[in-house]
């Protein structure tokens, strides 16, 4: 049995949604979950779930620890120092010790990145970690990285992101030869800023299947499977999209209320919107893998539903099961300029 350490206290609705989602994963995949957090609160959630669907206790272990790092913590570094018994730190350390094969947290992103980095260290040949967001496109999902783990990047970092992202696309999406694009503001190699111009040359000379610069407008068109950028740009790109989806939904609801005709129409539209959401919803994809650290780490959205947690745990299982970390380490070594 592969064990996944889950930060049971991480996320807006923790531990309820987290325990629920983690348990669901144990029912669908050949895995056990190590629930890390306040033992009594976790047991209480397990008891509630047990009423509807018997909990297989051979698939569940609890690691009791008192502290929690809040979602709005301004300085995760200080919080991790102040709270050595926080659920995220204890969960990461459990993976580092070998008590579990992968880490899942929907808690504070910065704290998760730091705890994983400190517990696992970096893969040899990787200088910076990258959060890889799975985004929908007109065709199949694509990977955008980094979306916030490494704010300041130099060109070799983007090459490392490209190698790791390609491996992800092969392992998780079975894409034999993932197309890698560089997020920039024009197609030509000379377009963009200093970082992208130099990264373009590095990528062109590398073993990754580099298809050139990708303009932000084309990210959602599905022309690239892996799109690399620095963490500042990626975070802005991802969160602009989140904000716009919220605006669209808000405006459409406004347009669709009021008249009777609109209310009739809205029944149909709501169904279409629901289907649409299923295709853009992060919960379908589970979470963002933190690539580059020497241990499987999946970072869930702070507002993760039970389903999102289940899918994040499933993604962690897939990474652990396919020995992602060992394999990506080999690829990085092969891609690095001698």
């Amino acid at each position: 049995l592969i064990w996944i350490a889950v930060d049971a206290m991480g996320g807006d609705d923790a531990p309820r949604n987290v325990v629920d989602g983690a348990l669901a994963a144990t029912r669908h995949f050949d895995l056990g979950v190590l629930l890390v957090g306040q033992g009594r609160a976790i047991e209480a959630e397990l008891a509630k779930l047990d009423v509807f669907d018997a909990v297989d206790r051979s698939r569940v272990r609890i690691l009791d620890t008192p502290d929690v790092i809040g979602m709005n913590e301004e300085s995760p570094a200080a919080a991790l120092r102040r709270k050595p018994a926080s659920s995220i730190k204890v969960a990461a350390d459990a993976v580092a010790r070998g008590d579990a094969s992968a880490l899942v947290s929907a808690g504070h992103t910065g704290a998760t990145v730091m705890a994983a980095h400190s517990a696992f260290g970096m893969l040899p040949g990787v200088d910076r970690p990258a959060l890889a967001a799975v985004i929908p496109t007109r065709t199949r999902p694509a990977l955008l990285l980094d979306v916030g783990a490494s704010v300041e990047c130099r060109p070799p970092h983007l090459l490392q992101f490209a190698v790791m992202g390609s491996m992800f696309a092969r392992v998780v999406y079975d894409i034999a030869r993932p197309r890698v694009g560089l997020l920039s503001i024009g197609h030509e190699a000379t377009k963009g800023n200093e970082l992208t111009r130099e990264a373009h040359q590095l990528l062109k000379a590398s073993p990754v299947h580099f298809i050139g610069n990708v303009e932000a407008r084309d990210v959602y068109s599905g022309g690239a499977d892996v799109i690399v950028c620095d963490g500042f740009t990626g975070n802005v790109a991802l969160k602009m999209s989140e904000g716009l989806v919220e605006l669209v939904e808000g405006l459409l609801s406004e347009e669709l209320s009021g008249t009777i005709a609109n209310m009739v129409g809205s029944l149909f539209t709501r169904r279409a919107l629901r289907h649409f959401r299923m295709r853009v919803d992060y919960s379908e994809y589970g979470g963002a893998p933190l690539l580059g650290v020497a241990g499987v780490t999946i970072v869930g959205h702070g507002r993760s539903s039970a389903k999102a947690v289940r899918n994040a745990v499933a993604m962690a299982y897939r990474f652990a099961d396919t020995r992602f970390i060992a394999r990506v380490g080999q690829e990085i070594a092969a891609a690095s300029p001698a």
Copy 2:
């Protein structure tokens, strides 16, 4: 009469849409249009329009020039050198000479920025030009700048963008005290990259009404009237949004075709979508002013409709009529650290 020089050859559907939109502007505002481009093609469009609605020739002048810079020109600098009689250059020079009070072009953005920069020079105290995109929010429109004119920026440039953007919000949207936000990846002053951390301090100490960092997710929520960033980040942010709107529309159409029930629903939804588009559509806002150059310049979207051109010409008129350039020059002088 205030005259507006319009690059009649700029944009995907030029000169048809451009002439049509420019003429519409002369009917609604107290202005004349100086149409710059291939005289015979422009006359042909005027003749077509005259059939439906008599063209007031006292409001229209033509400046005949043979060359056109294509929308897909890779090097606008080289194109401007190679084609000194291009419509965009001749139009900018006409404004510099005083034959018109403002410049409007929906042609190649880079070529327009360069032609305006070279014809007008920069305002004293402004180091870099900024393209300011008007974007919809839950409340009133907001201004995002720079969206691509100045790819590499230093902190003082963002302060200059903030001063110019504030003036724009006051003049065009009658907002007495525009709230200025700094696009970053966290609310705290210490979050972001080197550029945003230093710019945060400069903005805090400046006369602009600085409300702090704005996360990309909140750009569309309407909490800030003016949002400043470097041109690389702004271009990515804006174009991610454009791409996502296209994806949303594409997926919704897919969801809404197929069954009869969906087809009935889609009648209502299409109407809602149309209303929605009117609120997010760039054509409502006309174009992006190029701030910082010493002459009124409005850059239209390459795919501008006649209506978008009309609104761009109207925006140019508003800028010229309110002596925007002279006033922003004074504000910049007042905001600059001694």
